[in-house]
């Protein structure tokens, strides 16, 4: 007995078992219901966009790791989350070459350029989307109408060649119109029924139409303690309460709190984008301030911005401010400060 050489190990000799892999894997799982719904709702187009996005992001990260002569980091699952989130923010009919380009930018510029996992100042998926929004504003705001043959054929624009003008699909004759609820609300003053907002039969980006399912996924992560609930709560509460204030402020449009919460990318953004741990503050108070800031920016952009939706820019601005919030809001150490003169 006791023949082995003893190991000298520093305490603690126990660990909770938490891991980055488990967190990222669970975030991916939490996104799945909304993704499955998107495939049902938008058909093959959504499936293709999501698959191409995930594969592009993973391949980009792998290649960059190889270029840097270090072991690949795709095993930590964070790039899968980025890929899913990026795909979910795109219109389902987006040409696939744009998905590839944007996914590459998301991971290469948004994440790896800054040092990979843990170093990205902005949510990488949103960096990719912001790039596409700036480069291809038309394609990024073209919404297909759902058609009965969505499970058998792809929209014509999906397979368009790079930098060629995408063929216009046939005008929507059946199903619903191609405009998003926020677009209708902003330009034409039309409200979409709440049930459609939360359970999906509206137009929009791949992953933003099923607000109810996104909420469910977020609640799962909160229950597993893998998400800071303060961030989505602060954002959603700010938007809901702010809506009441904004209605008299902005002429001609009604800010219905529940409609505001359920439309556009808000639920996806609040639950899964703004909560990117790396790009959000670390303290509880910091997270609340960050959430309020993002919520307020969303309302301001929706009310006065040039575009109907502003969740992406609101979160990117929130990301930019989060180091400053972290600097201001530090935990206050236990006990009164040390006396300068000892007795």
């Amino acid at each position: 007995m006791l023949r082995r050489t003893l190991q000298l190990r520093p305490s603690p000799h126990l660990h909770s078992g938490a891991s980055v892999e488990a967190i990222m894997m669970n975030v991916a799982f939490a996104l799945l219901p909304a993704c499955v719904f998107a495939v049902y709702h938008f058909g093959l187009a959504a499936l293709t966009v999501l698959a191409v996005s995930v594969v592009t992001c993973a391949v980009t990260e792998h290649l960059i790791c190889r270029m840097q002569n270090r072991p690949t980091t795709i095993g930590d699952w964070s790039v899968v989350v980025t890929g899913l989130l990026f795909g979910m923010t795109l219109p389902p009919s987006l040409p696939l070459w744009m998905v590839v380009l944007g996914g590459g930018i998301a991971v290469a510029v948004g994440k790896m350029l800054f040092g990979g996992l843990g170093a990205n100042p902005f949510n990488p998926a949103l960096v990719g989307r912001a790039f596409l929004q700036a480069a291809f504003p038309m394609a990024m705001t073209s919404w297909p109408s759902t058609s009965p043959d969505r499970f058998t054929s792809l929209p014509a624009s999906t397979l368009a060649w790079p930098l060629m003008r995408p063929e216009q699909g046939p005008p929507a004759t059946d199903g619903m119109s191609g405009a998003t609820p926020l677009g209708l609300w902003k330009s034409e003053g039309i409200d979409t029924p709440l049930a459609d907002l939360y359970f999906g039969s509206v137009s929009g980006c791949v992953g933003e139409t099923g607000a109810g399912l996104l909420l469910l996924g977020g609640l799962y992560l909160i229950a597993r303690r893998m998400m800071n609930w303060r961030i989505p709560l602060a954002i959603l509460a700010t938007v809901a309460m702010g809506s009441l204030i904004f209605t008299p402020l902005v002429e001609g449009r009604r800010f219905d709190p529940l409609a505001m919460l359920g439309s556009g990318g808000l639920m996806l953004g609040a639950m899964f984008m703004a909560t990117d741990m790396v790009a959000s503050p670390m303290t509880s108070l910091g997270c609340v301030l960050y959430g309020i800031l993002i919520g307020a920016l969303v309302l301001v952009i929706r009310a006065w911005g040039g575009m109907p939706e502003g969740v992406m820019y609101a979160i990117l601005l929130g990301n930019a401010v989060s180091p400053l919030i972290d600097r201001w809001v530090q935990p206050r150490p236990f006990g009164p400060p040390a006396r300068s003169v000892s007795p």
Binding site: R4, P10, L14, S19, L117, M277, P331, P333, F334
Partner: protein
């Protein structure tokens, strides 16, 4: 005056691992062929030996007298003969002087006593008796009890804390001592009340030890100056500053001591030994420890003679062949040992062994960069920012860590490393930083 809350913010809930030993009664441990009695419980303050090589000693007889204000007396843990006085290994890796004692085969467990000290003695007499009994903090730090009490001579103390939280996983010694020696604990508290000049004593016990709390309450009877406070089961509930805040609602200042808020903290085992020793006039010759961990066969709580080498201890209880790590104390703060020739000291609360499946569980975990999840901030009981401290530590900015980010408030509980999903060595780096700054 009190704002009893019985808990604290942040902290963690590790698996307690106490089920194997909490119901094991304390058993007397046999004498090793050679006992190694260190002259110092704290490295820099050795006692002066009173014996010479070849001299015969009785169990309980004083074999070293205090030398300097920080040192305490040492007593022979067994009846036998002093083989030599030489350097012996310590857990820190230093070699320090120790008395090597060879017990006679027939050495009895009876402890030779001396003049007892009853509670009617004067305050200074009690403090001196505590020092001559060789009493130090048995909770792990082994800080001399009389030094704390002497401080209370200069500054007022109105309430003393008797720490029975035992928040470290695996350890059940305090639990068993309270359960089996409640009368000694209460007697010890009476001596400590006298010596500290405090009016009240609070025995703080985590709520998973209701039987111990009940035993202490019965031993107290209707004595108004002592009360029991139960606490939430949470780590590190038993840390001095945390305990005082949880029970008294007083916050010890940064880098301060409990006496800054009018209190002193003593471990329940210290109280029990003080009660035992002062009543009989004997000295501290053994202590109760938990021997456990998955590879240990006869897990349990043992009253072990001081100076028992770890090798004899582990061979006597029996272990699997593939012990990988042995550490003294609990798994959250316990130090692992490099040599089994290290003896059980006054500050040893437990001896825990881990096998390959436990170490592999930790080694298998892949390290990642910090993902800024904030879990360490929400675990740190001192409200530090371990993530930021670690970033500074990697750059070697130890000064900045101490001056601007309160590094010295870290008492190394290990909660940050326990929760970190990136498996970063957080508290480990802080320990290095603190050691570098002290030099």
């Amino acid at each position: 005056m009190f704002s009893p809350k019985g808990s604290f913010r942040h902290g963690i809930h590790p698996p307690t691992g106490k089920d194997d030993t909490r119901d094991q009664p304390i058993r007397q441990f046999p004498f090793a062929p050679v006992l190694i009695v260190p002259l110092a419980t704290m490295a820099d303050h050795p006692a002066r030996p009173l014996v010479v090589e070849g001299q015969r000693v009785q169990r309980g007889q004083s074999i070293a007298e205090p030398d300097g204000s920080m040192s305490v007396a040492m007593h022979a843990p067994a009846t036998g003969v002093v083989r030599r006085i030489a350097l012996a290994p310590t857990i820190e890796g230093k070699m320090l002087p120790a008395i090597f004692l060879e017990p006679f085969p027939a050495s009895s467990q009876v402890i030779t006593g001396g003049a007892s000290c009853d509670t009617s003695a004067s305050r200074d007499e009690v403090i001196e008796a505590i020092r001559n009994a060789g009493a130090v903090g048995l909770g792990g730090a082994a800080f001399p009890t009389h030094v704390k009490l002497a401080a209370a001579r200069q500054r007022p103390v109105d309430v003393i804390m008797i720490n029975g939280a035992e928040c470290e996983p695996y350890l059940t010694t305090d639990h068993r001592v309270m359960l089996e020696h409640a009368a000694d604990v209460v007697l010890g508290i009476r001596y400590l009340l006298k010596a500290s000049g405090a009016e009240q004593a609070v025995v703080a016990i985590e709520s998973d030890k209701t039987d111990a709390a009940h035993a202490i309450r019965s031993a107290i009877g209707d004595e108004a100056s002592i009360r029991v406070q139960t606490l939430e089961v949470k780590y590190p509930q038993g840390a001095e500053k945390i305990l005082i805040a949880a029970v008294l609602g007083r916050h010890v200042p940064s880098r301060g001591l409990p006496i800054d808020v009018g209190t002193l903290c003593f471990n329940v085992a210290s109280a029990a030994e003080i009660g035992r020793c002062l009543a009989t006039g004997s000295g501290l010759v053994d202590r109760v420890i938990t021997v456990g961990g998955p590879p240990v066969r006869k897990k349990g709580n043992y009253r072990v003679p001081l100076g028992t080498p770890l090798r004899f201890l582990l061979e006597t209880v029996g272990t699997d062949d593939d012990v990988e790590v042995v550490f003294l104390g609990g798994p959250m703060m316990g130090q692992s040992v490099s040599s089994l020739d290290i003896p059980i000291g006054k500050g040893t609360t437990g001896v825990i062994a881990l096998g390959p499946s436990e170490t592999a569980g930790i080694d298998r975990q892949r390290r990642h960069p910090c993902i800024r999840c904030g879990d360490c901030l929400n675990a740190c009981p001192m409200f530090l920012n371990p993530s930021h401290l670690a970033r500074l530590a990697e750059g070697g900015q130890y000064q900045a860590m101490a001056e601007r980010h309160h590094l010295m408030d870290c008492f190394e509980c290990g909660c940050c490393s326990y929760v970190c999903p990136s498996h970063l060595p957080l508290v480990q780096q802080f320990r290095i930083a603190k050691a570098a700054l002290r030099r």
